[in-house]
Amino acid sequence: MNESDSFKNRPEKEIFFEALDKNSPEERAAFLDGACGKKPALRARVEALLVNHFHQDAFMKKPAVEGERPTIKISPTSEAPGTMIGRYKLLELIGEGGFGSVWMAEQQEPVHRRVALKVIKPGMDTKQVLARFESERQALAMMDHPSIAGGDMRPPTAWRWISNGTCKTNRSPPVRRAISIAFRKWCVGTSWLLPPPAP
C-alpha cells in the first residue's frame, strides 16, 4: 500500500505529528503559530486532534474483539528440502492440496528408504482432517500390491515411494480417493505387462 497518497488532509495530519514530537506545551504552541499561520480553521482542527490525543480515557483502548492471544506469525511454512520431520528428511516438494503437501522424503530409521510424506498444513490439523487422513491410510492399508502405496504411520503420514507415480490430492471421499490413487499406481506398476507402444 502506498502510504503517501491515501489522504487528503495531509497538512493537518503532518502538523499534528510534528506537534506531537515537541517536548513542551510552549514549544508546541510556538510550532503551531508558525505551521498554521493565518489559517485559524486548520489550527483549530489540529488542536482538537491534540486535545483528543492527550486526553486519556477508555475510548478505543480495547479492540472491539479480544486482542490477547498467541500471535500467529505470517511467515513461510517451515518445510523445506532438508527439514527433518520426525524420522523423515524432506527431499523435494511433489504437490500441494488444500490441507497439506506431499513430499518426497527419506526415512532415516529403522531403515533408510524413500517415502512419500504427507504433511498437514499449519492450522489444518483439525479433527476432521486428521480423521480423513486416518481413513485414507486404513483404506490403503487393506490393499497389498508392490505398486500400491501403503503406510502404517500417523500424521505426518508416510507412504511407500513409487517412482514415476503421480500423487495428486483431490476432494473426493477418502476411500474413493484411495482406490483411485491405488488404481493409478497399479496401472503404473504393471504397465510393463502391456505390449510396447507401436513405433
Partner: protein
C-alpha cells in the same frame, strides 16, 4: 488456486471489478472457517477474530503466502468482513438491552466475543466511512486494529507499511474518531 487468490491476482493486475468481488468471497471464507472451527470446539468456546483472519489467509495463499503481493487487499477485505460481522452482533446486543436474551448460537460468528461496549463499536463503525474518505490508510488500520484485534506490528506486515507508520496512522485515527464521535 482458490477464487480468492485468483481475484487477488486480478486486483494486482489492475482489474477494478475484482476488488468488488473480493469482499463477499472473503466474508464467506471467514464464515465457513468459523463454522469449521466451531464444530470442533466445546460449546461456550469463543473464536479469536485475529486467529480466524490469519488462518483463512494461510489457507487461501498456501505456502506461497509470503510472496503474495495481494496480501494487503486480502487483509483489507477480511477486516471489512469482520467489521460487518461485529456490527451485526453489536446491533443485536444493543437491541437486547433490557430484553430477553435470544439464542443466536446457530450463527457461528456470534461466538466472537465483543470486548468493547456495543455503543462505542456502533459509533466507531458509523464514523469510519467519513475517516476513510479523508484518509484511507488510517481507516484500514482502524479496521485491522479495532475490528480484527491485530497488533501494530501485525498490521504493518499485513498492509506492507512500516510499524512506525502503522502506529502513527492509529494515533491519528483514534484522535480523529474521538473528535468526530464526541464533537471534539
Amino acid at each position: 488456486m482458490s477464487d480468492v487468490t485468483q481475484l487477488l491476482s486480478a486486483i494486482e493486475a489492475g482489474d477494478p471489478q475484482a476488488a468488488d468481488q473480493l469482499l463477499p468471497l472473503v466474508y464467506e471464507e471467514l464464515r465457513r472457517l468459523a463454522f469449521l472451527k466451531m464444530a470442533q470446539e466445546k460449546p461456550g468456546q469463543t473464536l479469536q477474530a485475529t486467529a480466524l483472519v490469519h488462518e483463512a489467509w494461510l489457507r487461501l495463499a498456501g505456502s506461497n503466502h509470503q510472496q503474495w503481493r495481494g496480501r494487503s487487499h486480502y487483509f483489507g477485505a477480511a477486516a471489512e468482513a469482520m467489521r460487518r460481522i461485529l456490527i451485526d452482533k453489536a446491533r443485536h446486543k444493543a437491541s437486547l438491552k433490557g430484553g430477553l436474551d435470544h439464542p443466536l448460537e446457530e450463527l457461528h460468528e456470534s461466538r466472537i466475543e465483543l470486548a468493547a461496549p456495543s455503543d462505542e463499536i456502533l459509533a466507531v463503525h458509523e464514523a469510519l466511512d467519513a475517516l476513510a474518505a479523508e484518509d484511507a490508510t488510517a481507516a484500514e488500520v482502524v479496521k485491522l486494529r479495532y475490528f480484527v484485534g491485530m497488533t501494530i506490528p501485525e498490521i504493518a506486515e499485513a498492509l506492507e507499511i512500516s510499524p512506525r507508520s502503522a502506529d502513527r496512522h492509529w494515533v491519528f485515527a483514534r484522535a480523529w474518531l474521538k473528535g468526530a464521535i464526541r464533537g471534539g
